[in-house]
């Protein structure tokens, strides 16, 4: 057992011996890690080290590519995600992407409720209204948009759009939220709003976030995971990792020697 890898008791998400390859190109090598409930976990590492690949396997978004193969297991609350229907899995996990991507043909309201619409789930109007308001309040967008819910989501600013996308992911009350560099396309003010938001969200949700921004990881994450060339090099409390990295490669990355 690698001593640089912290063991988490009762993880909400448990990744065991996960390897992922595109054709013959191995992008994630034998990663085993547990994610703790109600925390923010940051995935870091130089470009191309497999962060996005790892994240996308967690809700089986990797299956959209045909040339990809995985071995190992991922357990969400003890259930094997590969044995679940991907539809159910994806409803239990929310995902937020690098660029804000609200559906351009839908209103703000419809964007928030999009998951229900896409899944063909019908509800009473009151129920829908409640979900929309709750999700928009969760991302601190309600006050800004409550009078323009019928406007297209694409009219909002970049930061607002990204919060709308987070609201869309929250509408199903997911057990875990996966974010892939959610602030890399945003300006500093919008970025810090999203960071504040993620800190409040972890009270109710578990957050896993890929980031290139080390100070962001330091500011908001509780646990950090450092990957290098597909391998999990180090995993631990963020504070410990930043003050006292165990592995030379982690240290070099954190001190800006590469990446």
């Amino acid at each position: 057992m690698n001593t640089n890898i912290l063991e988490i008791k009762d993880p909400i998400l448990s990744i065991e011996n996960l390897s992922v390859a595109y054709d013959k190109n191995v992008a994630v090598k034998d990663v085993s890690v547990g994610i703790k409930k109600n925390t923010v976990t940051a995935i870091m590492g130089p470009s191309g080290c497999g962060k996005s690949t790892l994240l996308r396997v967690l809700n089986r978004m990797h299956e959209l590519y045909e040339n990809i193969h995985t071995t190992g297991t991922v357990l969400l609350n003890g259930e094997d995600v590969f044995k679940m229907s991907p539809i159910k899995l994806r409803r239990r996990t929310g995902m937020v992407f690098q660029r804000p991507n609200p559906f351009p043909t839908m209103s703000i309201y419809d964007n928030v409720i999009a998951g229900y619409k896409l899944n063909g789930i019908s509800q009473k109007k009151a129920e829908r209204d409640e979900i929309v308001e709750r999700s928009l309040r969760d991302v601190a967008l309600w006050d800004e948009v409550k009078d323009s819910l019928t406007k297209k989501g694409t009219f909002l600013s970049g930061g607002q759009q990204q919060r709308l996308c987070i609201a869309r992911a929250l509408a199903f009350n997911p057990e875990i939220i996966l974010l892939d560099e959610p602030t890399s396309a945003l300006d500093p003010v919008a970025t810090s709003k999203i960071e504040d938001l993620l800190i409040t969200l972890k009270e109710n949700y578990t957050i896993v976030m890929v980031t290139h921004n080390m100070s962001q990881a330091a500011r908001i994450s509780d646990y950090s995971l450092f990957m290098y060339l597909g391998e999990l090099v180090e995993y631990g409390k963020t504070k410990n990792m930043f003050t006292n990295p165990q592995d030379r490669r982690t240290e070099e990355y954190l001190t800006g020697k590469f990446g």
């Binding site: 539809i87 159910k88 409803r91 899944n119 063909g120 789930i121 509408a171 009350n173």
Partner: protein, 292 residues
Amino acid sequence: MKVTGIKDNIKLRINKDRIFLSLVVLFSVITVSPIVLIIFKLIEKGYKQLSFSFLIEKTPDTLQAMSAISAHEVIPGGIANGILGTFLMVALAGVIAIPVGIISGVYLYENQGKLMANLVRNVSDILQGVPSIVLGLISYMWVVKHITHGFSALSGSVALSIMMLPMIVRSTEETLKMIPQTLKEAGLALGIPYWRVLFGILIPTGFSGLMTGILLAVSRVIGETAPLMLTALGSTVINTNISKPTSAIPLLIWEFYNDPNMVDLIWSSSLLLMIIVLTFNLVSKQVAAQRK
């Protein structure tokens, strides 16, 4: 807060997804099946008649055809008058449309965003949408009535050239737009006169693009029948005088179709027409592919 009562039938949704994909594949196959069926039919019924003499002899008259049919022989003669007529009229149409089309394309490229250029571009687009039969009417009124005073190859060519013109204009402009601006600037910086830069540097650079457009335009007009019915009319003899009525392969097909004795000839003529059209089509694709 808990999200209550998510009720949906995942099995049903997955089945719907699968059925939809099957329908997409099925309908796509149905969509392209006519091309296979048509080509197969033409080959099946037309290959027998297709011989060297079919290419070099002129059309038989209906009596010759009738006696050949009653003697269970292959109908004698060929469609040389149609082949030559098609060649003559398309070539003449090209002579008219290609220079005008290329120069206009250059004009549009050189005057991006200007009012007059936009007008020319829009009008050219309108021309592209005009039904070919209307072009036949126009050429009838212009050429048949006032220039050749009778049905003629020239009037057919004019109709075809108006059809080709907008296609060539568009492909020229699109091709030139893809050539890096620096090339033109480099030429001008060397002190080369403007017209030489345009026609000595830009046009040769975009040559294969222009060629693709021209070949495609040719392949589109070769099979045109309707405008020729109103202009070139058709002829049973080989004609090289552009002010006289002239035949063309599609016109002959139309005549054979209307003459019960000649019906056997439609398939071989259509097969030949398809071979010519598809050759132009595929060659233009090949030229386009080589550019990349």
